[in-house]
């Protein structure tokens, strides 16, 4: 069941060709999954059956892992790590999935909204789940897919971002966090891991006091804190998760900005960031995303109303309306709506709202309008 869920997510966003990135063996990535020594069942154990009658011979295990050269976590996996999902154990229980989440960027920052229904093959496992998880003070992520995967990988991402912040004295940008998450999920491509997240954040302009030389002063301030309203270009954000690239940063920075002598990294962009990351390897940047089984319904509302110049109230009401319509039409979405708003000061959360009330309010509105018109119109 979770297999079909993953394919639904994949069909909603066009799969991008993965660029072959060369990983640096930075400390940031080395132990990202060493905490989890994933136990993979030996395929041989599963093929042996006490009942041999009617047995079909099992396919051979794929020998050798495709070389993930510098990604050290495969060393913690057993050698017969099955990349093809046909090797995995058939599960006797269904996994939870099915949702409506959306996020978009506007002049007031980034708004993220989601429903709260956590379903499990027809049963509502939890009517009040939390699908928008704050990662740090200026970054929230919406989750879709298997809830356990999303919760755990978000935790790992928070840890890695915090380590990055401690090592480099500044927060990693949204694009960098998205790249980090995408790289962490890459070894599990082809397995049943299912994570489809949008990372919504505000890239900061602050640096740690200790890492700036005094004579730089206000000049670097002006060039750094450019509040742009343009779409952030992915290549401008050289804040990839590997510290090994730090040294090359000062060389590859475009000429308009490098006046620094030291090899300190430099914030070249400050403003909202919105990225979509999927466990099949997709990493997209954009201004508007909706993910989940209810996303077609949400897209229809959002495409109608979202523009850059919205006020915060208008944006909130559009997001709320989009989630409400999706919950009305999609069986796997429902219950409440959560809205998070990310600005330069961090994220704020709107009180969770019960959509049942909204449904009754709308019925009341329709009834009053029918009475006012004085005709018996159909629903």
């Amino acid at each position: 069941m979770f297999q079909e869920r993953a394919s639904t997510v994949g069909s909603l966003v066009a799969l991008e060709k993965k660029k072959t990135c060369s990983y640096a063996t930075g400390a940031a990535l080395s132990n990202s999954t060493s905490q989890f020594h994933f136990y993979i069942p030996e395929a041989g154990y599963l093929e042996e059956s006490p009942i041999e009658f009617g047995q079909i011979s099992a396919p051979k295990t794929s020998s050798g892992i495709p070389s993930e050269e510098s990604f050290s976590s495969p060393s913690s996996l057993p050698a017969s790590f099955p990349f093809a999902s046909s090797e995995s154990v058939p599960l006797p229980f269904p996994m939870g999935h099915g949702t409506t989440t959306l996020a978009f960027m506007f002049q007031g920052g980034v708004l993220a909204a989601a429903d709260t229904r956590s379903s499990c093959s027809g049963l509502v496992a939890c009517p009040a789940a939390q699908k928008i998880l704050p990662i740090h003070s200026h970054l929230v992520g919406t989750t879709s897919g298997t809830s356990a995967d999303c919760a755990l990988w978000k935790r790992i991402l928070s840890r890695e971002l915090r380590l990055y912040q401690l090592r480099h004295g500044r927060r990693l940008s949204t694009g960098g966090a998205a790249k980090l998450l995408s790289h962490m999920l890459h070894p599990f491509k082809g397995t049943e891991l299912c994570v489809a997240a949008t990372l919504c954040g505000w890239d900061g302009g602050e640096l740690d006091d200790g890492c700036r030389d005094d004579h730089k002063g206000s000049e670097t301030d002006d060039s750094e804190r450019r509040d742009t309203t343009e779409t952030p270009k992915a290549d401008v954000e050289t804040t990839a998760g590997a510290p090994g690239e730090k040294v090359s940063l000062s060389k590859t920075q475009s000429s308009s900005r490098t006046k620094r002598q030291c090899s300190r990294r430099k914030i070249s962009f400050s403003g909202p960031g919105l990225f979509y990351v999927c466990s099949d390897g997709t990493r997209l940047e954009g201004k508007l995303f909706s993910v989940g089984s209810g996303s077609p319904y949400a897209y229809s509302i959002l495409d109608q109303g979202v523009r850059w110049g919205l006020t915060v109230e208008e944006a909130t009401s559009i997001a709320r309306e989009a989630v409400y319509r999706a919950t009305r039409r999609d069986a796997y979405s429902g219950n409440f709506v959560d809205i998070y708003h990310v600005t330069a000061n961090g994220w704020t959360r709107r009180t969770r709202e019960d959509l049942k009330e909204e449904y009754y309010r709308e019925k009341e509105r329709r009834r009053l309008e029918r009475e006012r018109r004085g005709t018996t119109s159909s629903e």
């Binding site: 905490q35 994933f38 009942i51 009617g54 599960l91 499990c120 939890c126 995967d149 755990l152």
Partner: protein, 237 residues
């Protein structure tokens, strides 16, 4: 001993009559039935489970409770595949001891919940087929219930039912404890006596309608004085 593959899913039996060739593959999982329930109150928590251990059409034991005491303030209820329940509780006990020895204090309920989540996720590709519910007191002495799915997703609740009769019990708890889907009722906080009585009634109802639930009910009441256990008989058919 029947292999779980002859069943259509957890708790469902396939008919014996079939048309065509069937591949019988060994499944490492079995479904042993059982229901677990936990309720959190103001200063108490209740974890209750039935004591029937079944497999397919047979009952293996009438006295196999599914609540396990972890610390003086935490009880865990595990239902699903009994083999994985036993191993998981052994692993949790070992990790509790390790924590106690290295940190010189017992783990709090919230910490146990977070640890269990990582233990379960460590087996993401060959999961423990166990539905866990942890009930206990948090650091402030308030009741806490943490419910898990088999791969480690968890959250804190006020009440939760898990196991074979969970789909029947959860709506009833929503209504009686959460006062959901009712209009014009007063929301009174749950007292310990009322909670215990509610749990007994709820399990009696579950035993009527779910074949895998019955025999006896084990209730563990966690308060700051300690853990109090009661056993109440249920229908045995």
């Amino acid at each position: 001993m029947l292999s779980a593959q002859s069943f259509g899913g957890p708790g469902k039996m396939k008919e014996y009559h079939y048309t065509g060739a069937v591949e019988n593959r060994f499944s490492p999982y079995a479904f042993n039935g059982g229901t677990v329930l936990a309720v959190a109150g103001e200063d108490f928590a209740i974890v209750a489970s039935d004591t029937r251990l079944s497999e397919g059409y047979s009952i293996h034991s009438r006295d196999s409770p599914k609540c396990y005491k972890l610390t003086d303030t935490t009880v865990i209820g595990c239902s699903g595949f009994h083999g994985d329940c036993l191993t998981l509780t052994k692993i949790i006990d070992a990790r509790l001891k390790m924590y106690k020895h290295s940190n010189n204090k017992t783990m709090t309920s919230g910490a146990i919940a977070a640890m269990l989540s990582t233990i379960l996720y460590g087996r993401r590709f060959f999961p423990y087929y166990v539905y866990n519910i942890i009930g206990g007191l948090d650091e402030e002495g308030k009741g806490a219930v943490y419910s898990f799915d088999p791969v480690g997703s968890y959250q804190r609740d006020t009440y939760k039912a898990g196991g074979s009769a969970s789909a029947m019990l959860q709506p009833l708890l929503d209504n009686q404890i959460g006062f959901k889907n009712m209009e014009g009722v007063q929301h009174v906080p749950l007292t310990q006596e009322k909670a215990v009585q509610l749990v007994k009634d709820v399990f009696i109802s579950a035993a009527e309608r779910d074949v895998y639930t019955g025999d006896a009910l084990r209730i563990c009441i966690v308060t700051k004085e300690g853990i109090n256990e009661q056993t109440i008989p249920l229908r045995k058919d």
